[in-house]
């Protein structure tokens, strides 16, 4: 086994035994179970679950990732004193942190679905939801690495992490909405699509909602997006953009990590 896999393996073992991760997976399991069991209609339950995922996964991933990275600072110093390269160490730490957290979300969503026995279409949407949730989880953990290795102070780092989430989850949409209202005389479909692509949460929402028939309810723009994403090129572009939201922050993280004075 190579060094990266070994470091990732021990990191994952540490996290998989943590009570926090168990509670995190449990939260999604309970939410999925309750929604499927008690809302009227599978589609409605899944739509609610999409909203829960889009709210909780980015927040939990970025905050937990940042806290974990600051807490492991001293251990990382000890590992840096071993005969391994920094790039390998980063890759191992990153995989060891992202895999268990993403797995917790996927397990939390999929296990109740399989246990309750949802319809075939429901399972397809659920699987897609789990996939996007995992990607979103990894993307926000990647953002956490960039924050934690850029900001030296722990409290300020946590504030930056929280601020990033607030910006992407709340402020961004408000800004887009305001711009759309102000510029409503112009054709906005393309700029809006670009704006959705530039925010991982909006992009995930777009990818998830187009799975539902009700996406048409989003109006003319929604219908346009759906037509765009229904095409192979559009869908690939959207998944590629989500992948970019993992790769770019992780690249920023690894560069900062390689240059950092510990």
């Amino acid at each position: 086994m190579n060094i990266v896999a070994k470091i990732a393996g021990y990191g994952a073992r540490d996290l998989l035994r943590s009570r926090w991760l168990l509670a995190y997976a449990g939260f999604f399991a309970i939410a999925t179970f309750t929604l499927l069991r008690f809302s009227d209609g599978e589609t409605r339950a899944l739509l609610s679950l999409v909203n829960v995922v889009l709210l909780i996964v980015p927040l939990a991933s970025v905050i937990f990732g940042t806290m974990y990275l600051y807490a492991s600072r001293e251990f990382v110093e000890l590992l840096l004193a071993q005969p391994i390269r920094r790039g390998q160490l980063f890759a191992g730490l990153f995989a060891g942190l992202t895999m268990p957290t993403a797995l917790a979300v996927v397990a939390g969503i999929m296990i109740p679905m399989l246990a309750l026995g949802v319809s075939r279409e429901g399972l397809a949407i659920g699987g897609w939801l789990a996939f996007v949730a995992a990607a979103l989880s990894i993307a926000f953990t990647a953002i956490a690495t960039a924050v934690a290795y850029f900001v030296e102070d722990r409290v300020r780092g946590l504030a930056v992490a929280l601020g990033t989430w607030l910006l992407l989850a709340v402020v961004y949409d408000a800004g887009v909405l305001m711009a759309a209202v102000q510029l409503s005389d112009y054709p906005l479909e393309r700029p809006l699509l670009a704006a959705m692509f530039a925010n991982p949460i909006d992009l995930s929402r777009l990818l998830l909602l187009q799975q539902f028939d009700s996406a048409a309810l989003l109006g003319y723009t929604g219908a346009l997006f759906q037509r765009f994403l229904a095409g192979t090129a559009g869908a690939l572009a959207a998944v590629g953009a989500l992948a970019a939201w993992i790769v770019l922050p992780a690249l920023a993280g690894v560069r900062l990590f390689q240059r950092k004075d510990f």
Partner: protein, 236 residues
């Protein structure tokens, strides 16, 4: 063993190391002493490659230390603060380090002399601070490296454990291993140090053999000799 030439390190506007030159001789214990925030830990971390200097050269056995970090295969490091992954056990931790290094030589003597074996399977989060510090010490010696860097090794250890670690240092020095350590504890210095490097505000105020320091300051005890250096009576 190690030569440092003109090592300078700035953090923002603050100059932490200001042209430090130092020679660490093999088979001896070199103590780096000095007041708080004098740059001791930064100097150690520079040798380990954790911190990169803005200027200067560090050579290990005549070769510049490289970014790849292979030279660290022959160094054991005991950091000042021992914090490990909470849910791993000490046994996991030793296994992890073994997986990361492929050295065949193992030295598990401290596991017995520090009575760590009974704690090996507990999660590290339930171990006391002192026990974690013992794990930290045992890790540094585990691969029988020829250079050991110990950052305040006896801080946080009870007197018995501190004695065990000091005896280990003396025994390993007798086998020809080289030590760099920082400490604020005078008795550690008296017992262990062969050479002393005195660091104040990022500059070496004195470096050389303990016997020479005592002779130059005309003091019998190391503590008084160091006090004289601190007073600024001695130019390097």
């Amino acid at each position: 063993m190690i030569e440092v030439f003109g090592l300078t390190k700035r953090f923002g506007a603050r100059t932490v190391l200001d042209g430090v030159s130092l020679h660490i001789r093999p088979g001896r214990v070199t103590a780096i002493v000095g007041p708080n925030s004098a740059g001791k830990t930064t100097l150690i971390k520079s040798i380990l490659g954790l911190t990169r200097g803005d200027a200067g050269v560090i050579r290990l056995n005549g070769r510049d230390i490289d970014a790849e970090g292979r030279y660290r295969a022959d160094i054991g490091y005991m950091p000042q603060i021992a914090r490990f992954p909470e849910n791993l056990s000490a046994a996991d931790l030793f296994r992890m380090m073994r997986d990361l290094r492929d050295g065949t030589q193992r030295d598990e003597e401290l596991l017995d002399s520090l009575r760590l074996r009974e704690h090996l399977d507990k999660p590290l989060r339930v171990l006391s601070g002192g026990t974690r510090q013992k794990v930290n010490a045992a890790l540094a010696f585990l691969f029988a490296p020829s250079l050991l860097i110990l950052d305040e090794p006896t801080a946080g250890l009870d007197p018995v454990a501190a004695g065990v670690v000091k005896d280990k240092v003396i025994a390993e020095r007798a086998k020809g291993r080289t030590f760099i350590l920082t400490t604020h504890v005078m008795s550690d210095l008296e017992e262990l140090a062969d050479d002393i490097a005195f660091l104040v505000d990022g500059r070496i105020r004195f470096s050389g053999a303990v016997t020479m320091l005592k002779r130059m300051t005309r003091q019998l005890s190391l503590e008084r000799a160091i006090a004289r250096v601190m007073d600024g009576e001695l130019a390097a």
